[in-house]
Amino acid sequence: MRFEGTLDIAAPRDRVWSFLTDPKQVTTCAPDVQSLDVTDPRHFKVVVRAGVGPIKGTFSMNVEFTELVEPGHAIVLARGQAPGSAVELRSTMDLAALDGTRTTMKWASDVTVSGMIQQVGARLMQGAADKITQQVFSCIKAKLEAPVTA
C-alpha cells in the first residue's frame, strides 16, 4: 500500500531535519510507543501498538535510516512483526525550505503487511494504514509548530 503527501510546516528546515533524524524525537509521533532502544544514530528498535479499533498488534520494529543526505533527504526502513504477522514501512522524506521559518515536506511511504493481520483484517488494511500514516505525519507537523519551550 502506497501513501504520499506534502506538508507545510511552520518551522525552519534544520529544525525539521534534526527532529526527523533524532530517534528520540521522531518516535514521539509513532503510535502508542511501548519502548525505544537506540543502537546508533542510524539504527533503533521501537515497540509500538498499532491497529484499528479493538484490532491491535504489538509490533517490535527495527528501524534504520537507510539514506541521510543533509539537509533535506531521508529514507527510513522500518521492519517489525507481531505474532504471526509482519509489517514493513519504507518512507522517503524530502524537505524544501520555503523561507527562513517555513519548510515543505514531501513524503511517500510504502506499507506492506503480511501474515495473520493481513488475512483476517484484509478489508480494513487500506483504511487503517492510511489513518495511522496521516496521524504520524500530522503529529510531526504539530510537534514542530509547537512553540519551542525552554
Partner: protein, 783 residues
C-alpha cells in the same frame, strides 16, 4: 440370498455408525496419554525471507514451556530435511531461508495446549525479506527469482514430462478442418476435510519403540518413510507402530508427511514423553498440501462435422516450494493423460512442466485420483468449445464421438487400456431423467424474455485403482494392496486390510465382499484397518483405489479360504472334492443339494475335525497386484439460472448418472456421489486460494475459503448404469472420486451455455458473481 447375508449389492446399514452417532469416535485429538506434552508451531509471515535470528528467550521464560526446536537443533540429528513422495526433498524446519508464507519456523513443546500457544506467540524472529515469485509462468523465465538455492540446477524448473505422438499430432492439427484452442486455469484449492491434521507421538525409551497415532491415509507407507528419515536415530521399521485411528475425511490431504509429524516424533524422542500436535484450520489451509493449480493450454482438431481427431495439451504445474505431490513415482503429472476422456482421439500429445514458486509445497488429489479432475475438466470444456464453434448440440456432438461399447477394452492414443465402458447409455439415461429436450425448449422461451438459463453436460471417463506393479510404485514400493482373513471356529471372521477408510465405510463394504464370497452373514465379519502392527502391508486409501485393489485382494483371499474349505467340506461329506460345488452360499454334493455343509460347519471342523495331513485353521492373506487400472465413467447434466442483477449462479437441478461397475453397497455409493458432486460444485463456484505479489495468501481460513453449506447445494439426483470391470475379481471399479472429477465441467459448461448466445466461449472457475456480472455488462444484458 445375497440380501440376507448382506452380500454384494445390498444396502447394508453401516457398522461403523454405532460409535460415531454416540460421539464415541476415536480421532487423533481424542487420544490422551499420561504425561502427554503439546507441540505448537511458529510460522513465517513472509513468503521468502532469510532468517537472521530466532529469539526464543521470552518463550522459554514462560512457565510450562519446556523446549523450543528450531532448524539448527535438527541439523545434528539430520532431521532438518526429509524426502517427499516425488523424490524431491522438503524442509522440516529451515536453517536459513523460509520459502513460503506459513512455513514452519520453530516448534514449542509445553505441558499444556494453551501454554504451547503462548510460547509460539512469544517467539521473535528477525527476517530479511527476499524477492518473491508466485506466478509459475514467470518462475520458469530466465532471471526469475530462484526459489531453491539448495539444488545444483539453478532454476525453478522441476521436471518436463510428456506422452503421446508429437509429430503425428502436429501433422493432424496441420491437416484439420477445424481447430479450437482454449487456455484453462484450474486454480489452487484445498481439501479442508473437517478434521485437520495431527499426531500423538509416543516414544518408549525402555524398549525403543515409537507408537504414533496420526491422520494418515497410508499408515504403512508412512512407517517406511519414518524409518527412512529417522532410521539413523535408531527408529528402525520394526520399532515403529503407526496407528491411523478414525479419520475425519482425507480426500488426499492426509497422504503426505508434514513437518508437524516429524517435529512431534522428534520432540517425543527428545523428551521421552508422548507429544501431541494438532494444527489449526488456518495452518491446515495455508501450509498443508494444496490441490490443482494447473495452467493449461488445450487444442482439439476435428472435422467440420464434429468428428474429433487430435488433442494437444501443454501445461505448467505450480508445485510451490517443494514437489511434495503424492503421485506414483513414474507419473510426475499423475494420470493427467486420461485427458482423451470418453473420445477416441487417433492422435494426441500431452506435455507438462513442473515449476517451483514461493508457495506451500504439494499437489495432492482433492478427491480426484491423480490430476484426473484437471484432465476431465479440460476435455469436457474443450468439447463444448468445439460444439459452439461448429454450432452443434453438445449432447449430439458427444454421442457422435463416444468410444463405442464394442471397442472395449480400448487402448487410447496416450497408452491407457480402458477396461469397459458404455458412454452413450449413461448420457441417454441422464438426458431422459432431466428431460433434456424440455429444458432446451424452456431455455429458448426464457432467452426470448431475456432470462439467462444454462444446461451443461459432462461425460467423463475416470481412471482409478492404481495400480499394476509394472508401472506403479510410491518411493519404489509397488502399489499392490492386501487383505488377511481369519475365520474363527464359531464361523465368525476377522478381516484386516492394507487400506484405511476416512469415511468411505470399509468396515461395512469389505465385510460384504467376504460375506458374499464365504456365505457368512455380514454382521459376523469384523473389519480392521490402520494399525501397522496388525494390518498386512498396503499402500493406503486414495485415488479411489480401495475397492479396485484391496477389494480384489479381499475377494481372492476369501476364495483361497473357500478352496481349503471345499476340501474340508468334502472330508465332512465323505465325497471327493471334485463332486463338491459352492452353490447358494453352501458346499453341496453335485446333484444332491440336501447333502451340504455351510461355511460355519466347515469353519468349526477346521479346528475340531480337519482332515489328517491338512493344516488346521481357516485363514488366508492376499497381496493383489491389479492387472490394469479401472475406468469408471458417467454423464452429468445440470441446469443453472443466472441473476442478471448480481451475476449470481444458482444450480437449479443436477442429474448424475454414474457407472462404477459392480456396486457392493448402493447406499454407500450414492453417499459417495453426493459428497463428490458437492466437492465438484465447490471448486466450480466457490473455492480458490490466491496469492498477492508479495506471496501473501488470500483465503487462508474458513471466512474466505468458502466450503459450500447446505444452502448452496442442490438436492442431487443420482442414477446408475452397471458396466462391470472385466479384470476385477468382483467387477467393481471404485467410485469415491467420480463425482468430483465430473461435476466441475458440467457446471462450467452450463454457465457458458447460458451466455453462449452472447458469444461467450469460456469462463475460468471458480465462476464468481463478479466474473459473470462483468460479462453481462460487456454484453449489455445486465439488469
Amino acid at each position: 440370498m445375497a440380501t440376507e447375508i448382506g452380500g454384494i449389492g445390498s444396502s447394508v446399514k453401516r457398522k461403523e455408525d454405532a460409535r460415531f452417532i454416540r460421539g464415541r469416535g476415536n480421532y487423533v485429538d481424542d487420544v490422551k496419554l499420561p504425561g502427554m506434552l503439546y507441540l505448537d508451531i511458529a510460522r513465517s509471515p513472509y513468503a521468502h525471507a532469510r532468517i537472521k535470528n530466532i529469539d526464543t528467550s521470552k518463550a522459554l521464560a514462560i512457565p510450562g514451556v519446556l523446549a523450543v526446536i528450531t532448524g539448527k537443533d535438527l541439523v545434528p540429528l539430520k532431521l532438518e530435511w526429509m524426502p517427499t513422495l516425488m523424490s524431491d526433498r522438503q524442509m522440516v524446519l529451515p536453517t536459513d531461508t523460509v520459502l513460503y508464507q506459513a512455513q514452519e519456523v520453530a516448534a514449542v513443546v509445553a505441558t499444556e495446549r494453551y501454554i504451547a500457544a503462548d510460547g509460539v506467540a512469544a517467539i521473535e524472529v528477525e527476517y530479511e525479506p527476499l524477492p518473491v515469485v508466485v506466478d509459475p509462468i514467470k518462475a520458469l523465465q530466465p532471471g526469475a527469482t530462484l526459489v531453491r538455492e539448495d539444488r545444483e540446477q539453478k532454476d525453478n524448473h522441476i521436471w518436463h514430462w510428456e506422452v503421446g505422438d508429437k509429430a503425428g499430432t502436429d501433422k493432424a492439427f496441420k491437416d484439420a478442418e477445424v481447430v479450437v484452442k482454449q487456455d484453462i486455469y484450474i486454480p489452487r484449492i484445498h481439501v479442508s476435510s473437517i478434521e485437520t491434521c495431527g499426531m500423538v507421538a509416543s516414544f518408549d525409551k525402555i524398549n525403543g519403540k515409537l507408537t504414533v497415532w496420526m491422520t494418515t491415509q497410508a499408515p504403512h507407507a508412512i512407517r517406511t518413510v519414518i524409518a527412512l528419515v529417522a532410521g539413523h536415530l535408531g527408529l528402525s521399521e520394526e520399532r515403529i507402530r503407526v496407528i491411523s485411528p478414525d479419520i475425519g475425511g482425507g480426500f488426499g490431504g492426509k497422504v503426505p508427511v508434514y513437518p508437524g509429524y516429524v517435529l512431534a516424533i522428534g520432540a517425543s524422542v527428545l523428551t521421552g514423553h508422548p507429544v501431541k500436535w494438532i494444527e489449526d484450520r488456518s495452518e491446515n489451509i495455508q501450509a498443508d498440501s494444496f490441490a490443482r493449480d494447473y495452467h493449461i493450454t488445450a487444442e482439439l482438431a476435428a472435422k467440420k462435422d464434429g468428428t474429433m481427431q487430435a488433442l494437444r495439451v501443454k501445461t505448467v504445474a505450480d508445485h510451490g516450494a517443494f514437489d511434495a505431490a503424492a503421485n506414483p513415482s513414474k507419473y510426475p503429472a499423475g494420470l493427467f493423460h486420461i485427458i482423451t476422456g470418453s473420445y477416441p482421439f487417433a492422435k494426441s500429445f500431452v506435455e507438462v512442466d513442473g515449476a517451483y514458486t514461493n508457495k506451500p509445497p504439494g499437489g495432492i488429489a482433492y478427491r480426484c485420483s491423480f490430476r484426473v479432475t484437471e484432465a476431465a475438466f479440460t476435455i469436457e470444456r474443450l468439447v463444448d468449445v468445439l460444439a459452439l464453434e461448429i454450432k452443434k448440440d453438445p449432447a449430439e456432438l458427444r454421442m457422435q464421438n463416444f468410444i463405442p461399447p464394442t471397442a472395449f477394452p480400448y487402448t487410447s492414443s496416450l497408452g491407457w487400456e480402458y477396461d469397459s465402458g458404455d458412454y452413450g447409455r449413461a448420457l441417454r439415461l441422464a438426458m431422459e431423467k432431466i428431460d433434456y429436450a424440455g429444458l432446451r425448449k424452456e431455455q429458448a422461451q426464457k432467452r426470448a424474455k431475456g432470462e439467462l438459463m444454462g444446461i451443461g453436460i459432462s461425460s467423463f471417463t475416470e481412471i482409478v485403482g492404481a495400480g499394476p506393479s509394472k508401472h506403479f510404485d510410491i518411493l519404489g514400493i509397488k502399489m499392490f494392496d492386501s487383505c488377511e482373513i481369519r475365520v474363527h471356529p464359531t464361523g465368525k471372521a476377522m478381516v484386516r486390510l492394507g487400506v484405511k477408510s476416512q469415511g468411505q465405510g470399509h468396515e461395512t463394504t469389505f465385510a460384504q465382499i467376504v460375506a458374499e464370497e464365504l456365505g457368512l452373514p455380514v454382521g459376523d465379519i469384523a473389519v480392521e484397518e490402520g494399525d501397522t502392527d496388525t494390518a498386512p502391508y498396503g499402500l493406503g486409501t486414495y485415488a479411489s483405489r480401495s475397492t479396485p485393489v484391496a477389494g480384489g485382494a479381499t475377494a481372492i483371499a476369501a476364495r483361497k479360504i473357500r478352496e481349503k474349505a471345499k476340501l474340508i467340506a468334502a472330508h465332512l461329506l465323505e465325497a471327493s472334492p471334485d463332486d463338491i460345488e459352492w452353490k447358494d452360499y453352501k458346499f453341496q454334493v453335485k446333484g444332491v443339494p440336501a447333502k451340504s455343509k455351510t461355511m460355519q460347519e466347515v469353519a468349526f471342523a477346521a479346528y475340531t475335525n480337519h482332515p489328517q495331513g491338512m493344516e488346521a485353521g481357516l485363514e488366508a492373506v492376499d497381496y493383489y497386484d491389479p492387472p490394469n487400472l479401472t475406468f469408471p465413467f458417467g454423464s452429468y447434466i445440470c441446469v443453472v439460472d443466472i441473476d442478471r442483477g448480481t451475476g449470481e449462479v444458482k444450480v437449479r437441478r443436477f442429474v448424475a448418472v454414474d457407472d462404477c461397475g459392480v456396486i457392493i453397497n448402493p447406499m454407500i455409493v450414492e453417499g459417495q456421489i453426493h459428497g463428490g458432486l458437492t466437492m465438484g460444485l465447490a471448486p466450480a463456484l466457490y473455492e480458490q486460494i490466491t496469492y498477492d505479489d508479495d506471496g501473501n495468501i488470500q483465503g487462508g481460513n474458513f471466512m474466505d475459503y468458502l466450503l459450500p453449506t447446505a444452502m448452496e447445494v442442490p438436492s442431487w439426483e443420482t442414477a446408475k448404469t452397471t458396466t462391470p470391470s472385466p479384470h476385477h475379481p468382483i467387477g467393481a471399479k471404485g467410485v469415491g472420486e467420480s463425482a468430483t472429477v465430473g461435476a466441475p465441467a458440467a457446471i462450467a459448461n452450463a454457465v457458458v451455455d447460458a451466455l453462449a448466445h452472447l458469444g461467450v466461449r469460456h469462463i475460468d472457475i471458480p465462476i464468481t458473481p463478479w466474473k459473470v456480472q462483468k460479462i453481462l455488462k460487456e454484453k449489455g444484458v445486465a439488469e
